[in-house]
Symmetry: C2
Subunit: 371 residues, 2 copies
Amino acid sequence: MSEVYAARRERLRERCAASGSATALVSRPANVRYLAGAAPRGAVLLLGRGTDLMVCAGPLGAHPDDDRPDEALRIQTLPGAADGRGDPAVAAADLAVADGAESLAVEEHHLTVARHRAIRSVTPRLRLTDLGGAVEQLRVIKDEEEISCLRIGAEIADQALSELLESILVGRTERHLALELERRLVDHGADGPAFATSVGTGPNSGRRGHRPTDRRVEEGDFLSVCLGATYRGYRCEIGRTFVIGTSPADWQIELYDLVFAAQRAGREALIPGAEYRDVDRAARQVLDSAGYGHGLSPLTGHGVGLEIDEDPQLAPAAMGKLDTCVPVTVEPGVHLPGRGGVRIDDTLVVRPEADGGPELLTITTKELLAL
Amino acid sequence: MSEVYAARRERLRERCAASGSATALVSRPANVRYLAGAAPRGAVLLLGRGTDLMVCAGPLGAHPDDDRPDEALRIQTLPGAADGRGDPAVAAADLAVADGAESLAVEEHHLTVARHRAIRSVTPRLRLTDLGGAVEQLRVIKDEEEISCLRIGAEIADQALSELLESILVGRTERHLALELERRLVDHGADGPAFATSVGTGPNSGRRGHRPTDRRVEEGDFLSVCLGATYRGYRCEIGRTFVIGTSPADWQIELYDLVFAAQRAGREALIPGAEYRDVDRAARQVLDSAGYGHGLSPLTGHGVGLEIDEDPQLAPAAMGKLDTCVPVTVEPGVHLPGRGGVRIDDTLVVRPEADGGPELLTITTKELLAL
């Protein structure tokens, strides 16, 4: 794996060189992990002309289960830094100067004003520039190793969900169902949940990011569930909506079919070269033309990877085009205040048509199941 | 409750006025919650000369379970801001200028360089100053309402732990025990766990912040557990170490007694007016003089409240003195690489001697239980 991280750092180094800064300081944890294989708490990465260096706030965990950074990296540990004395970012800037750097590109969207000021005061002659989202941009297109982690995570989430569906649901609370799903994710080998599991019943169903409450599942409810597994750091997402009881009401069937059609339209729009906003529009216009345009979520999907909400955003104003090997969610939904709603959410990888089109990672059925 | 939040905002306003800035922008979520009663995702608080205003990234949840901000606040919602267009902090600065503000104190330890720059570019004539940790300082001393939330949280954690101890432990993994504890916290009314529950067995026992693994509990192990409940936003912490099996080894009894003595010394040093570092030293020197000075955690305890790790820090270099009504943890521990160790952790509230001294919130026994 070491070569993978070295190659990623090399690509970043090329970008930095192209924009005039030979040295970069990466502080955002997911970016550190992407470039170094691990992101110990508080650690930053200094990419200089010569050696790459990780500066850690404290000693690396001696435990075999702890993620270890790439062995090709030089590691510097700040003595006594864990009690707040000594910021790895400041120490890294200091080392950059000692190494002859005249400018340093930092992640201005992650560093706080106070830390930035601390760097300036310790290294007043160092010119600080903005690395911007350079690492986030590198992270958008995944390699097959990364996709394989997402695929395993999706299998775990599918399995946790299918087991839940085999159990009795009526009478159980949203909170309990969410906790049970999270336990099953871990049972099946996830590092943990990819985000707070959302379970919504009855009037709460179909709300994006609904925080589980003590409401119990009742006959006739819609039940919507959104969960994901983290596997080796990679986070996927699946969302499904079910009906409780033997016979869904007409409005439930109609609403389900509509959201299903919108989600299918979004999935089918996942073609290499498609504009992000065209994918969003494909799904959104189905809901819009049925009169549900008001109150829709501002996005139809988003990238996933080391974070659950990455670039790209599939939204009306998003700029950019899909590439092959970009994993995204497609997750339209409709929520009717007081009644509930439907949300269907898959994680897919953009693939060329010649390879069979988008690869669906979350394969749980999207038929309307009556449980 | 509304008066409580208004009074807190008034105290902050007085501090700002004293330091020359009539208007403050609060962005750190725990600080927003402290002053407004709720912190919707991305929301910031603008404290001006006249009205207090919350600027939200999107509409407030219509759900009855969502926390609602103080009704005395004016609420401004940014239309369409949820897809990334429009930063509430920038909008708030703009409103401050419209309201006649000439300077604005911001939380430089929370705002990123990029957001700070966005504020400057939208409001170039506004003088930006640093609010520093003013709100965090207000948060150190708790009122009885806050302490009561911590007390309930501690009761919940005690209960979750006592139920776990009644079950069979041998053969179960650290991960499962941690998940079970978290489920029980929620069962007993917690909003959720206060932090990632830590369960360490055998060689993993006694490590601060140990991330649960698939290691199973074995006869003869030390088992250390650290958990906490969040109740109405307030987070407490309890840590205990047990032995598995009927007869602890001599080294286990000795190590336990030592850590127990250190923890008691720390607790007994919790007197109003005591220096933070003297509390740390009281616990630390017990371990130090027994030859375990090397490799100790850099702190012996810390404040708790809306965040699990607040001011003060009980550490060798910490500056400041304890006040009455400050809740802190006392959590010394020793970990012997390859063998495991002991960690004992309580949440207590500093109280005057006349009121009976420190109030212990986490009341689970600290006898060495053999399970």
